[in-house]
């Protein structure tokens, strides 16, 4: 229930951002993120809210881990 996954910001408005969340476009609330959110940023999304901004490199690493883990589900 506390799981969160990274999504890439496509565009932002005052309180929300549209993100690409593993291939799906979703609108999320960004009020909990202290830093400015811009297109291209990566956000960690939990239950429709961005709870943290993460580095691009780190986000890609996390997504790669998700993907590798998915591929090797015989792990």
């Amino acid at each position: 229930m506390c799981l969160a996954i990274p999504g890439k910001v496509i565009l932002t408005t005052e309180h929300t951002a549209e993100v690409d969340l593993m291939g799906n476009r979703r609108k999320v609330n960004i009020d909990l993120v202290a830093d400015e959110v811009k297109p291209g940023d990566y956000l960690l999304i939990h239950a429709g809210y961005a709870i943290e901004k993460v580095d691009e490199e780190i986000a890609l690493e996390t997504l790669a881990l998700f993907e590798e883990a998915l591929e090797k589900s015989d792990y």
Binding site: M1, C2, Y49, Y75
Partner: protein
């Protein structure tokens, strides 16, 4: 190095370091699932015991709270919005699913934002969001109250049954009978709280803890870090999940929690009342507090006969130790919440039991 090679190396190192018994508790339902699914338990040397703690917010919700929202759900003119995990959780006599089949308006939402949307679209009805969750989720509920206030959505309210992780950890770390040597701390809860609220585990109780991510590799790395602390005679709060968790956590999310909620005593299933371990809406926001808006029955303590969820949540028993596990109690016919929630220990064990039964 591939994931497989990295895990093989970690497992070899863990085996070399596991010279004495070491009992670890993970305190996040997502860790419980990751551990059961990956079969990590059986890859570890027998000296290392992994037990699950009270890390599933649904499972720690007391029967009395469940009975209260079931009663609320049956009031006319009301829509209950809830995360999906709650739908089949049994109260004393029924669950939300049955009540819905009987005509109550119960809707599963993915986010409080969806609950707000239901409120906007149904101005003639009252929408109550069931506030279940730990520090990861609570800030999102706080923002929903802010949005409702901003938009004057007078038909939106929250039934707050939120719980805080550090106070329950203190209860567990203090219990000598449980004998837990080290903790795997919940990654996303810590992304909000940071390390400070977990320092007492090391400072007061001299036990190592590591904030962990959710991939099997994260968990192996965490176990390795915990063993390393023990080997070196250290006890600290370390972060394995550095790609997300900062030492300071997310101060803005904590501000939101503090602005809308206040700390109260809360009853945890199978554990009892823990002082200052829950959050209720502040009186200033009582128009968004379902408890203030509606008449709810007084909580009545009840037990589910035979269900050992309480001992499982404390890491005293593993699910197969319950006589009902896999027999009377299965995910299709769950008796206790630990079998209903996908992150409950019993459900995780049942689903992947081929690998985890001998733990």
């Amino acid at each position: 190095m591939t994931i497989k090679a990295q895990s093989a190396k970690l497992i070899a190192d863990i085996k070399a370091m596991a010279t004495e018994p070491f009992k670890l508790m993970e305190v996040c339902g997502s860790h419980t699932v990751a551990i059961a699914k990956s079969g990590i338990r059986e890859l570890l040397p027998p000296n290392i015991r992994l037990v699950s703690g009270p890390g599933c917010p649904v499972c720690v919700t007391d029967n009395s709270d469940i009975d209260r929202f079931l009663s609320l759900a049956q009031q006319p003119g009301l829509i209950i919005a809830t995360f999906g995990d709650m739908i089949r959780v049994p109260g004393t006599v029924t669950n939300l699913q049955n009540i819905r089949a009987g005509g109550a308006d119960v809707r599963v939402v993915y986010s409080t934002l969806d609950a707000l949307e239901i409120a906007r679209q149904n101005p003639e009805k009252q929408v109550v969001f069931l506030g279940i969750g730990f520090e990861t989720t609570i800030p999102t509920v706080a923002v929903s109250v802010e949005i409702a206030a901003r938009e004057n959505l007078s038909n939106y309210s929250v039934l707050a049954m939120h719980k805080l992780v550090p106070p329950v950890l203190e209860v567990l770390v203090m219990d000598p009978e449980l004998g837990i040597d080290a903790f795997i701390n919940p990654g996303h809860v810590c992304s909000v709280l940071g390390t400070e609220p977990f320092e007492f585990i090391a400072k007061q109780y001299g036990k190592p803890s590591v904030i962990a991510g959710f991939e099997p590799l994260d968990i192996l790395q965490t176990i390795w870090m915990l063993l390393k602390q023990r080997t070196e005679g250290r006890s600290e709060v370390e972060i394995e999940y550095t790609r997300v968790v900062k030492t300071a956590g997310n101060p803005k999310a904590r501000e939101y929690m503090d602005k809308y909620f206040t700390v109260v005593d809360a009853r945890w299933r199978g554990i009892g009342v823990i002082p200052q371990s829950g959050l209720k809406l502040r009186p200033e926001y009582s128009q968004f507090d379902a408890e203030a808006k509606f008449t709810l029955p007084q909580p009545v303590e009840t037990n589910i006969p035979g269900c050992q969820c309480g001992d499982i949540l404390k890491g005293r028993l593993l699910p197969p130790d319950c006589a009902l596990f896999g027999k009377a109690c299965t995910p299709l016919q769950p008796i206790g919440p630990c079998m209903v929630s996908s992150e409950g220990s019993c459900a995780a064990f049942y689903r992947y039991r081929g690998r985890s039964y001998n733990a």
